[in-house]
């Protein structure tokens, strides 16, 4: 105890003299792209920082340089006042910089204990590999770290390969690795995407403890509410440049959005909620049931209506989305579209019936990242573009793609650029564009703005509203409540695999929705 206090004290004393990390005039160029344009950053011990900015603003580039994954084109990195401009991954770890990557960067085939505990020994040997492995220490380090994040630390769990664990558990393991060593700085890139509220709360208490011990934290997040919960400084970046440093608890969403985008965005509802639903609904789902997924789900969607469906992770919302898209089979119940019973036993059947489904995870379920934008967009309508000899008609394909790119305001050098070269928001627009190309009657979006910045969110919402305006029925599955409240006419809350309640979206607030979801611990909101 006393040694811990002493350590904290020395850490505090030192912090007054030199910041833990500084960057001076950091530039990064990728070919012709100038990703960082002279960024100066100062990170003090024992404090939290939030890197805020739209996708493509240079946040990830900055983090890659600090964590040693990439070298800057020019500029300096100082750690403890000493110049360390030549960081590689091992050098950054030696300097006490731990990174929790957005993709988690866990080795899928290694065990929980190895993923957490190996780094320490690798760093001790300065990356040299021909050294004996201290098996007991790997386990010991892992046990300590697992305890910190609240995961079990028994032998069976620790020797499980990480790939066999659910995504939320993996995210906690990645965090455990970040806090396993006595880091001076822990960088966390979107660390809470898979976590439940309760786990987030626990994480925040872990963060507070780290801060008390003198560790600095640097977050990258799109979740402003969580940033406020953690508190600290917000570093706003736009277009590769440092814009402003703010106090995250003192600044409201509208102001932060303005700083990030340079534009004032609508944060209210896009249009008045419609209460008068058509006499003959577009979609009628009756008593739909899927084994352990969901039970007795009946709902309707009118033409031009935007319906929101939310619920906790295990509420059956994901399963329902997959069933409507023809990806998951159902046991009982009927689905009618435009008054006629339709068959959605396969994704192809659902597309034929006029249902378009934009999946949750665009990277693994949706897009062919290395393929051109054109190929991604025409993917679902390839039959329609068949020309002579059954080959794809290039001209038509290009026209369709160009129209979509223009309609959805996708920012891309040209239509043959690979999707992986686009920012997250633009990737998501390509995915939506593909499904709009099928001329669907019903558009189902699952988590349409996960990992998308505010500016792109706005653009995606406008697309959704446009489509609804033209008479398309839209269902949004999401746990982003503000997004549902802004866009939907009605919101259905699922709980324990059934529909719990239906609310008119303009007469309900987050609190009531959370209550209906049965969420026990909720992160205090922005309000």
């Amino acid at each position: 105890m006393s040694s811990a206090t002493a350590k904290t004290n020395t850490a505090l004393r030192r912090s007054q003299a030199v910041p833990f990390l500084e960057t001076h005039d950091l530039h990064k160029r990728y070919g012709g792209v100038h990703a960082l344009k002279g960024v100066n950053l100062k990170i003090e011990r024992g404090r939290s920082y939030h890197l805020l900015g739209e996708n493509g603003c240079g946040k990830s580039t900055l983090i890659k340089i600090i964590s040693g994954a990439q070298r800057q084109s020019s500029g300096q990195v100082l750690i403890d006042g000493h110049e360390r401009s030549d960081l590689d991954p091992i050098g950054a770890l030696e300097a006490g910089i731990e990174t929790v990557y957005q993709d988690l960067s866990l080795l899928p085939n290694l065990t929980v204990a190895e993923n957490i505990g190996l780094t320490e020994q690798l760093v001790e040997g300065h990356g040299r590999l021909v050294r004996p492995l201290k098996v007991g220490r790997v386990r010991e380090t892992a046990r300590r770290a697992l305890e910190v994040v609240g995961l079990p630390d028994d032998r069976a769990f620790m020797s499980t390969p990480v790939e066999l664990l659910p995504i939320a558990t993996r995210q906690l393991i990645a965090i455990a690795r970040g806090v396993a060593g006595r880091a001076g700085l822990v960088i966390m890139d979107e660390p809470t995407t898979a976590l439940t509220r309760r786990e987030v709360s626990h994480l925040i208490s872990v963060i507070r403890r780290l801060q008390d011990e003198g560790t600095a934290l640097l977050f990258v997040t799109h979740k402003l509410d969580e940033a406020r919960e953690i508190g600290g400084r917000g570093i706003v970046m736009r277009d590769g440049e440092f814009i402003e440093e703010i106090d995250v608890t003192e600044t409201d969403n509208a102001e932060i959005s303005y700083l990030m985008t340079g534009r004032r965005l609508e944060l209210g509802r896009y249009r008045a909620a419609r209460s008068n639903v058509d006499a003959a609904p577009l979609l009628e789902v009756e008593r739909l049931t899927r084994g352990k997924g969901f039970e007795d789900v009946s709902l309707t969607v009118a033409r031009g209506e935007v319906l929101g469906i939310t619920g906790l992770l295990d509420s059956g919302r994901r399963e329902l989305a997959l069933a409507l898209a023809g990806i998951a089979a159902t046991d009982r119940g009927t689905i009618k579209l435009g008054g006629e019973r339709i068959d959605v036993s396969s994704p192809a059947a659902a597309i034929d019936a006029g249902i378009a489904y934009v999946p949750e995870d665009r990277l693994t379920e949706g897009l062919f990242l290395e393929k051109p934008i054109r190929d991604n967009i025409i993917m679902s309508v390839i039959d329609r573009l068949r020309g002579r000899f059954g080959l794809v008609d290039r001209r038509q394909a290009n026209e369709l793609t160009e129209r979509t790119v223009e309609d959805l305001k996708i920012v891309a050098p040209d239509i043959s650029a690979s999707v992986s070269s686009l920012s997250g928001g633009n990737q998501q627009r390509v995915l939506i564009g593909r499904w709009l190309a099928t001329d669907p009657k019903l558009l189902i979006l699952n988590g349409p703005t996960v990992g998308v910045d505010v500016g792109s969110k706005d653009a995606i919402f406008r697309i959704i509203q446009d489509q609804a305006e033209q008479g398309m029925g839209v269902i949004i599955f999401s746990d982003d409540l503000p997004e549902l409240l802004q866009n939907c006419d009605r919101i259905i809350v699922m709980r324990d695999r059934r529909i719990a309640e239906t609310f008119p979206a303009d007469k309900v607030d987050e609190k009531a929705l959370y209550a209906a979801m049965g969420a026990t611990a909720r992160i205090a909101g922005a309000a």
Binding site: Y101, L133, A156, T160, T169, S201, A521
Partner: protein
């Protein structure tokens, strides 16, 4: 609204959402199997032994069991090399060519220039020569950044061409005395009731030693873990500070070294060096490793599993004759076993993942 302080107080109970015991421990038996894949080939060994032994009791005679062990040495050494490369996410098919390119010149050189050389320096020569040839594979993989399979198909032809063009094509029978002696050295010698002489050849120990050392490297050194890390995902491993190109160099050198030793052992066991030997056995060696639980996609596999897998394949190749299965059928049965293993492990992975 629930306040933050309440949220944090119940936080220690966080292990109930995604971390609930039921999700974490689903498919626990399957996970245990995933970590101990040697169980599967072991069960196969026992089953084959029981079936064949019941039909023809000769199976259980020491002479036969020793023969099987003896036959497992060369494929076993090669399989250990394949395992190490596979664990790092690559696939090596040049090992038979390396073995041949090492064994033939070494035998010719020693009997011509240093006929009195002992077995230890000969083995060392084989190991070093094989290791160097393997390093060539490693360098090519690092420099060309092409899949290891393609590169080792290339070097397989290159090495073999080198041997046949520049070294020789003729059968070489004038084996150095120390190799002949080592081939006949027995750990155990006895006479059966039927008056048959049986001997457990000492060179089985070479396989055993190679297995133990490979196990130590994979499980008790940092590079061993780095090998699996790179096999899991070389991009992520690089980001975490593992030196990926050094791992590549190491695994191919290790596989080459084992292939070199295997070549020497092949000559020792057969008392002749045939430059055309071993070619074409690559797939059955790889099959042995897969049968032992390594995934063809890399990042997995154990030494014990590989040893067991090798024994299964050797067993099938050697004992079916005892129960009167014609040799053409043996090939088909071998194929069936490999299919069975493929099915089993695919199913196991799904079970373990709770899908």
């Amino acid at each position: 609204m629930t306040t933050m302080s309440e949220a944090t107080t119940d936080a220690p109970a966080a292990g109930e959402d995604a971390m609930s015991r039921s999700t974490l421990y689903k498919g626990r038996a399957a996970r245990w199997m995933v970590r101990h894949p040697a169980v599967f080939p072991f069960v196969l060994l026992v089953l084959i032994g029981l079936v064949v032994g019941t039909i023809n009791p000769f199976f259980w005679q020491l002479a036969n069991l020793f023969d099987i062990l003896r036959a497992a040495v060369v494929p076993g050494l090669l399989a250990l090399g394949v395992l190490v490369v596979l664990a790092a996410g690559g696939l090596d098919v040049s090992f038979t060519a390396i073995a041949a390119l090492v064994m033939y010149p070494v035998a010719v050189f020693v009997s011509g220039s240093a006929p009195d050389l002992g077995i230890a320096p000969i083995l060392l020569m084989g190991a070093v020569a094989g290791g160097l040839l393997g390093t060539v594979n490693g360098i090519l993989v690092n420099v060309l950044k092409a899949p290891a399979l393609i590169i080792t198909i290339g070097t397989q032809y290159a090495f073999r061409g080198l041997l046949l063009t520049f070294v020789g094509t003729a059968l070489f029978t004038n084996i150095p005395a120390s190799m002949t002696r080592f081939g006949q050295l027995a750990l155990f010698r006895g006479t059966t009731q039927s008056g048959l002489n049986v001997a457990l050849p000492a060179f089985v120990l070479v396989f055993l030693a190679a297995a133990v050392v490979t196990w130590l490297v994979l499980n008790r050194t940092l590079i061993g873990r780095a090998i699996y890390a790179v096999g899991g995902s070389s991009d992520i491993a690089a980001r975490l500070g593992y030196n990926v190109s050094r791992v590549h160099l190491f695994v191919f050198a290790w596989a080459g070294m084992l292939a070199g030793v295997a070549g020497i052992m092949h000559v020792t066991a057969n008392r002749l060096a045939n430059p055309f030997d071993l070619a074409g056995t690559e797939l059955s060696v790889i099959a042995a490793v897969i049968l032992g639980g390594a995934r063809i996609t890399g990042g997995t596999g154990t030494v014990l599993g590989t040893v067991m897998g090798t024994l299964v394949i050797t067993l099938i190749n050697n004992v079916l004759i005892l129960v009167g299965v014609p040799s053409n059928w043996q090939t088909a049965i071998l194929g069936a076993f490999i299919l069975l293993a493929g099915l089993f492990y695919a199913r196991l992975d799904r079970l373990a993942a709770g899908r």
